[in-house]
Structure formats: structure tokens, C-alpha cells
């Protein structure tokens, strides 16, 4: 009956979003009066697995196998489904990461389960119901979705639930892969990861810039500001369309939806399609030379001014602040 949480790793290490899903799943398990089992696939050190106890996992199932070292969608989905069956889990939680988005729907079909993809809050459990709040209309609204199936799956948006410590002693047990040969049709040829960059969907702080920056040659100050803050960089759609920045930085209704603690928008007008992707940011700062820019209407802090003057000053001010702090 335990709640099952799938703990994703990147090259053998857990990220913050993994601890977020464990914390989230633990809270659900607590509210339902049951225990929490974590399932890890890939080569993760036992010490890292045991550490999941810190966030409330009582049992950790580990599938460690060279063939499964990197993400194999179908094989992972088979294993997670059979672990859920073995544990009698009726609730499965995972991260709404790029891999999670590929996995959750396959598990849902295998287990005939309802799926909420992109939950942003804990489920409401009153009156025997199970209702989960998720993003809808690309950030312009939220939907409250009731899951009515026996098995229920939730994928959680990164950075929408805080990591909470809830110390338990986690026992780590090996779990046999149940993946069939036919689950390995897709082969990984290459993985390219910019190790020095903070990944945008997971970022707590984001520095974003738009067409107001005039050209790709002017991004050095955006990157400097982001580096200073430990932030990810992002951009508006015309900027990536023009090839000034990669598509993976494009946020908005037709790009990535982000919900960082801080979103700094520089030289972005604030078109409705852009706002859709950033409106769940906790704090929004807008720097724009046009006082009438629509972005100011949804900002918490604003500076009306020329980015080419304001941003360098902001960089200096943050350097000073870092020296004192």
C-alpha cells in the first residue's frame, strides 16, 4: 500500500528536484497513513540511496544494471510499473522532468492509471477524493483534476514544492529489472550536457532577455549577471527564432514554462504568450526603457531605464552585495 516515488538521477547523482518529489510523496504518504518506498534505476551509490531516508523514504528499491545506466524509456516504465505492483502501491510520484514526461504516460497505460502531469501543489484528499492542482493553458490558469482510477500517478513540476527533511532509516534493497528485450529498441547514441550551465526548468533564479538587447553580441552582460547570481539564462521567442540564443532558452506559451523564485526580464515587452510561461515565478523583476511595457503590470519590481546602463550597474551592485554578505 506504500506510496512509490521514482527517484531520477543524472549520471548517478540525485538533483534537488528528486528531493522535492521525495518530500512531496512523503507528505502524501503521511496524510494517507502509509509508508514511502523510493525506486531508483541506474548506477547510484548505496550511500546516496540511503540518504533518501533523510526526506522520508523508509525503503529504497534499487535497480542497478549497466544496461539501465542511462534512460531507456520503455524499460524504465516497465520496471516502475512492476515495482508499483510488487509494493501494492496505488500512488506513484515522479518529477515532471524531460524523462518523467516520457515515462509517466507509459506507466499510466500499463496500470490503467489516471495521471496528473505537472502538479504544482499537494493533492486535496477530503471526502475520499483525490484532486490535484496543475498548470493549464500554459501558465495562464490552473486546473483541479480529480483522479478516479484505482492507481494514481502524479508528476511534480520542479521548484514547486520545497525540500522538507523527515528523517527515517531507509533500507536499501536490490530490485530485479523486469524489462523485456523488446523494451530496449531505442538506443542512445550520444549525450551532450553543458555541465557548467544551470538547467532552465530546474533553476531557482532566471535571468532572461529579449529583443531589447538588439543582438547576440550583447548577451555577455546577461551571462555575467546570471553567473553572479547562480541563475539560468533564458530569452523571449523572437530572440531564439533569430538564432541569437538556443531554442532551449525560449520561455513562454510555446517554449518552456518556468516557476523560479526570481525571474529577471531585461528588454522583454511582456506579450501575453511570454507571460504565460513565467507568471508562476515567485518574484518578477522587469528592466525596460518603456514605462508602458505590459510586463510592468505583472512585475513585483521594476526599473524604467536603458538595459545597457542598468544591467552593468546591477552587476556592480550585486558584486558589492556579495562582498559584504
Amino acid at each position: 500500500m506504500s506510496v512509490l516515488v521514482y527517484v531520477e538521477n543524472a549520471e548517478g547523482k540525485f538533483k534537488k528536484s528528486t528531493f522535492e518529489v521525495v518530500s512531496y510523496a512523503k507528505e502524501i504518504a503521511k496524510q494517507l497513513g502509509t509508508s514511502l518506498t523510493a525506486l531508483s534505476i541506474g548506477n547510484v551509490a548505496d550511500s546516496a540511496l540511503a540518504e533518501l531516508g533523510k526526506y522520508g523514504a523508509q525503503k529504497v528499491l534499487s535497480v542497478s544494471n549497466d544496461k539501465l545506466k542511462s534512460f531507456v524509456n520503455q524499460a524504465y516504465a516497465s520496471i516502475i510499473s512492476s515495482a508499483a505492483k510488487a509494493e501494492g502501491s496505488k500512488i506513484i510520484v515522479l518529477a515532471a522532468s524531460f524523462s518523467g514526461k516520457g515515462l509517466a504516460p507509459r506507466i499510466a497505460v500499463k496500470l490503467e492509471a489516471g495521471l496528473v502531469d505537472g502538479a504544482v501543489e499537494l493533492p486535496e484528499l477530503t471526502g475520499g477524493k483525490f484532486i490535484v492542482k496543475k498548470n493549464a493553458f500554459s501558465g495562464k490558469a490552473f486546473a483541479h483534476v480529480e483522479l478516479t482510477s484505482e492507481v494514481k500517478i502524479i508528476s511534480l513540476v520542479p521548484n514547486s514544492y520545497k525540500v522538507v527533511e523527515h528523517p527515517e532509516t531507509a533500507t536499501v534493497t536490490a530490485f530485479e529489472s523486469t524489462a523485456a528485450e523488446s523494451d530496449f529498441g531505442v538506443m542512445i547514441k550520444d549525450i551532450v550536457r553543458a555541465s557548467d550551465k544551470i538547467s532552465l526548468p530546474d533553476a531557482e533564479l532566471v535571468v532572461s532577455a529579449g529583443r531589447g538587447l538588439k543582438g547576440p553580441e550583447n548577451w555577455a552582460m546577461v551571462e555575467e549577471l546570471a553567473n553572479l547570481l547562480g541563475a539560468a539564462t533564458a530569452c523571449s521567442k523572437p530572440v531564439s527564432d533569430a538564432g541569437w540564443r538556443p531554442h532551449s532558452e525560449h520561455v513562454g506559451q510555446t517554449g518552456i514554462t518556468v516557476s523560479p523564485n526570481l525571474y529577471i526580464a531585461i528588454g522583454i515587452s511582456g506579450a501575453i504568450q511570454h507571460l504565460a510561461g513565467v507568471s508562476s515565478s515567485k518574484v518578477i523583476v522587469v528592466i525596460n526603457k518603456d514605462p508602458e511595457a505590459p510586463f510592468f503590470k505583472v512585475a513585483d519590481y521594476g526599473i524604467v531605464g536603458d538595459a545597457f546602463e542598468v544591467v552593468p550597474q546591477l552587476i556592480e551592485a550585486i558584486k558589492k552585495f556579495k562582498e559584504v554578505a
Binding site: 543524472a10 524509456n73 516504465a77 524531460f98 516520457g102 509517466a104 504516460p105 507509459r106 499510466a108 497505460v109 489516471g114 495521471l115 502531469d117 505537472g118 496543475k134 498548470n135 493549464a136 493553458f137 495562464k140 490552473f142 486546473a143 483541479h144 483534476v145 480529480e146 483522479l147 478516479t148 482510477s149 523488446s182 529498441g185 531505442v186 538506443m187 542512445i188 547514441k189 550520444d190 549525450i191 553543458a194 538547467s199 526548468p201 533564479l205 526570481l262 501575453i272 504568450q273 515567485k282 518574484v283 522587469v286 503590470k297 505583472v298 513585483d300 519590481y301 521594476g302 526599473i303 524604467v304 531605464g305 536603458d306 550597474q313 546591477l314 551592485a317 550585486i318 552585495f321 554578505a325
Partner: protein
């Protein structure tokens, strides 16, 4: 070669989202509908790969008769024929089941969808169809090339990309980079009216999820303006007031 592209009918991106009936229904009054922008990318790539007599592109939509203008638009862009499963798309599981059921005997070499629909943002359909059909699914791709009996895809991952090779048939959900959306030309618009559009009835399945209500985000307070000559005030506010740095 036969390619199937799943298209969804969604509110135009400029739509101000509002709800009626005590926030239980989307207010569709005056809303313009379009092909989901990501699905247009999928459609454009399918057309490119079939150009010059290399194959045919079929579009499929699960929707009632009101979605036909969107389907005709896809035909105008360059799809060869279309299928509409005659049912309101009640949730992703239902939609995926209908698509899988229609596709299973269609002999498609591959199936494409958009990475997610811009209304319910499920990003569920592609992988669900893959599971229903027991074929590989690759979610959120940025590049797609065919090489005979297999395809090379680039999949987005946190902070980078993964290059994978999959045998045919497969299903993939497309994001930006896969292709540039195509604008229909006059000839396309004229021929769209007479291209075949088959209407099929849905299969019934048990409901697993249901939207109970909607909510719009709480409005933010008044913006606090900081003088451009005094940016250190912003740093102070972000540190001591907003507590984000």
C-alpha cells in the same frame, strides 16, 4: 511511407483565459481556435519528409464537428487526408486510446505529435499512444531524421540533449527545432476543401481523470518602481524584502 500526425484544436495564443459556471467550464465565447503550435511543427516535419512522392501524411484529431476548420487548415498546409474521431477530447488517456485504436491497423511508419497542447499541457498523448501500440516513444524532440528502417532523434534533457536511434515504427512528440511551421498557400487552401476527411466513432473507455474546476493565478500587487540611478535598492529589496537572493 505513411505518416500520422496528431493535431489538437486549441485557443489562439492571444486568448485571455476565463471560466464560467463557477469556474468549471472554459469560457469559449469569442475564442479563436488554432492548430496547437507544437503540432504545426510536427506537421511541417512530416510534410518535409514525405515531399516529392516519398509518402503521405494523415492528420488525426479527436474532437467534435467544431474542430473541422482546424483540420482543414492542416490539409491546406499540406496533409494528404484527415481522420476525425467524433468525440469531445475528455482527457489525454481517452484521446490517446482513440488515436491508438485508429492507428493500429493503419500501417503508419511513424506518428508525430506536438510536445504538449497549449491548453491542458498534458504532454501525455505521445507516450500513451506508444504504450497502447507497444512501439517506442520519444518525448520532446528537437530534431528528426530518417535513415531507412530507423530514425535519429534529438531529445531535450535538462541542460543539454540526447541523441537516440529508434527503429520504425515509433511515435515522437515535437518541440521547436524539428521544423519551421508552414503557411498554407492559395493552392493548398483550395485543395483542402476536397481532400478526404474520414469521421470515425470513438471507443468507450473508463474515465480515469476529470477536471473539477479551474483557477486563474492571483493578481500580483502593484509593481514597486526603483529609480534607474539607484539599482542597489533593487538588490536590497531582493535580499531583505523578497528574500530571493
Amino acid at each position: 511511407m505513411k505518416v500520422l500526425v496528431c493535431i489538437s484544436n486549441v485557443p489562439d495564443t492571444t486568448t485571455k483565459i476565463a471560466f464560467t459556471d463557477n469556474n468549471t467550464q472554459f469560457n469559449a465565447v469569442g475564442v479563436q481556435y488554432i492548430i496547437n503550435p507544437y503540432d504545426e511543427i510536427a506537421l511541417a516535419r512530416a510534410i518535409e519528409l514525405c515531399e516529392g512522392g516519398k509518402g503521405t501524411v494523415t492528420v488525426i484529431n479527436v474532437g467534435d464537428a467544431s474542430t473541422e476548420p482546424t483540420i482543414r487548415k492542416a490539409l491546406a498546409i499540406g496533409a494528404d487526408d484527415a481522420i476525425r474521431v467524433n468525440a469531445a477530447p475528455r482527457d489525454a488517456y481517452f484521446v490517446a486510446k482513440q488515436i491508438a485504436n485508429t492507428a493500429k491497423d493503419g500501417g503508419y511508419d511513424f506518428i508525430l505529435t506536438g510536445r504538449e497542447s497549449i491548453d491542458y499541457n498534458g504532454s501525455q498523448v505521445a507516450a500513451m499512444v506508444g504504450e497502447f501500440l507497444s512501439i517506442p516513444s520519444v518525448s520532446i524532440i528537437k530534431k528528426l531524421d530518417l535513415n531507412g528502417t530507423s530514425a535519429t532523434l534529438e531529445r531535450e534533457i535538462e541542460g543539454g540533449k540526447e541523441v537516440v536511434e529508434t527503429p520504425l515504427p515509433f511515435i515522437a512528440s515535437c518541440a521547436e527545432g524539428v521544423a519551421e511551421p508552414k503557411i498554407p498557400n492559395m493552392r493548398g487552401i483550395m485543395s483542402a476543401r476536397t481532400k478526404p476527411l474520414a469521421i470515425v466513432e470513438p471507443v468507450e473507455i473508463t474515465k480515469v481523470a476529470e477536471v473539477k474546476s479551474y483557477e486563474t493565478p492571483a493578481p500580483r500587487g502593484q509593481v514597486k518602481l526603483i529609480d534607474a540611478g539607484d539599482v542597489s535598492k533593487l538588490v536590497d529589496a531582493l535580499h531583505s524584502e523578497a528574500k530571493v537572493i
